[in-house]
Amino acid sequence: MLLETLQALLPDLNTAVLQTIYMVAVALAAAIIFGLPLGVLLFVTDEGLFLKNKVLNSVTGWIVNLIRSIPYIILLVALLPLTKLIAGSTIGPTAASVSLSVAAIPFFARLVETSLREIDKGVIESAVAVGASPWMIITNILVPEAKPGIIQGLTITTISLIGYSAMAGIIGGGGIGDLAIRFGYYRYDNTIMFTTVIVLVVLVQIIQISGDRISRVVDKR
């Protein structure tokens, strides 16, 4: 009985896993492409740093806080017009990726900023003292020095995104979380619910462990 249910579930589960990976991957890519520079910007424009700019820092900080304070499910709905514009549709995994990306960018940016703060100010100063340009300091000192922290931030972002992606179900986003809610929770199907939860647990564990491991390898401190 149990085995049969699981067997019947397999194709659905397979699609769901792929959908989750797809959504999370898109949002993660957006986080790296936009969130990383944003985090660097937040850091280098802060008081006492080499590109200090109070206005830019406050404005960026304010926008980041604004997006981060909106509960994801509201953001998801609020962004439907933007989603339509970018993805061409308001339903499906691609559509869900849009709001996931918007949520992931400021989230990751803050994590990047935090890991940059851990760099000894003296190291940055020594780079200023040798006459390096801001761009060189960012690419050659800041990012490499914060790499272990940035990788850990990426791990945290990935795991949070998997959680968020469960809510993407309301716009037909699909994914494992959606499967768990629709089949498991709404239909009281414990087998499906437990199976999907186990899949999620395993997925999260794998991501956390590999994230930690990579972070440790690049950490030369």
Partner: protein
């Protein structure tokens, strides 16, 4: 080489209180000179040295290095100027994610050198600081002295004319300090580099500096050639610092139990090599007993101080004292027991 005119640096604390770091300091440092700035923490010496490459923007005043007025340069030209001003730090500040090689290469990259030039220069620098075998190690694998050597190599990468040392040896043990100071001395002689170093250790100044400025409360209170300052300190603080190197305090008990006259003689320069003391005993009928004595070599010039007890007939003792005073011009009667 370095000219500082009426430099003032005022910090504004969070409560909008003004804290004066550097208070109207003017200095002239000659080419090829090792210039020491000594002071206790909070004296403003760190602020001063950081104003020399504009890591700290002076509130007012001028900083001129090698004919360039730094305070007037554009961002881009200031970066160029900084490439010619090396700096090393108390805590080294190496990038932990970069190997020894990459740390030094970064400075060259910042100056826009080609990979080929960088490779040749890094190897040359590692040779100079004696770390050729540590090429691919990360800073975490190095000792403090080795890290400072990497710091020095990085600072020298773009063939600067000036090297600023911000408490460069304060985090090192005495023997490592000595080896780093020797390296700085070698660099100074070999490359004719002008070195400015700040420290709170008189020992460091004695070892390598040619001239010295003493700082207190943001001001330079005494300045001059190191030997002169050692021989004739004027300010109480300067005397304090010198006392830390040349300790001539006799135990109180020793002074109390003496019967003769206790005198302190200072021999400066050439006189230290003359036989003043033995001449004394041949000419006068006094007996001498050395209680304390030391000859320090500052920049290879001897500075001797002896504390002696003279006993004999009072007249004879007085004549002996006059004789020494005449020859050394520096005698102090510490205790006269008649």
């Amino acid at each position: 080489m370095i000219e500082v005119n009426n430099l003032v640096k005022v910090y504004r604390s969070k409560k909008n209180k003004e804290v004066i770091g550097v208070n109207d300091v003017s200095l002239k440092i000659k080419e090829g000179e090792i210039y020491g700035i000594i002071g206790y923490s909070g004296a403003g010496k760190s602020s001063l040295i950081r104003c020399l490459n504009l890591l700290e923007i002076p509130t007012s005043g001028k900083v001129k290095i090698d004919g360039l007025e730094l305070t007037k340069l554009s961002e881009k030209n200031l970066r160029k100027a900084r490439q010619k001003i090396g700096m090393i730090f108390q805590h080294f500040y190496l990038a932990s994610s970069k190997t020894v090689y990459e740390n030094i290469a970064f400075a060259l990259k910042a100056a826009g050198k080609s990979p080929k030039e960088i490779d040749a220069r890094v190897k040359e620098l590692l040779e100079l600081v004696g770390l050729s075998d540590k090429l691919n190690q990360y800073p975490a694998q190095l000792s403090g002295g080795q890290k400072q050597r990497v710091g020095i190599a990085r600072a020298l990468a773009n063939e600067p004319k000036v090297l600023l040392c911000d408490e460069a040896t304060s985090a090192l043990d005495p023997s490592t300090t000595k080896s780093i100071l020797n390296l700085l001395k070698t660099i100074n002689q070999k490359l004719g580099l002008t070195i400015v170093l700040i420290t709170h250790e008189m020992e460091v100044v004695k070892e390598i500096c040619h001239r010295l400025a003493v700082m207190q409360d943001g001001k330079v209170i005494e300045e001059g050639p190191v030997y002169d300052i050692f021989a004739n300190p004027v300010q109480p603080l300067t005397k304090d610092f010198i006392q830390s190197v040349l300790q001539f305090n006799l135990p109180q008990q020793l002074i109390e139990n003496r019967k003769g006259t206790i005198i302190k003689i200072q021999f400066k320069g050439a006189i230290a090599e003359e036989s003043v003391v033995s001449d004394l005993f041949q000419q006068f009928k006094v007996k001498g007993n050395i209680l304390h004595g030391k000859i320090e070599y500052i920049q290879d010039v001897p500075l001797g101080v002896f504390i002696m007890e003279l006993t004999g007939e009072e007249k004879e003792v007085q004549r002996a004292i006059n004789y020494i005073e005449e020859r050394t011009q520096n005698l102090e009667v510490v205790e006269h027991v008649a």
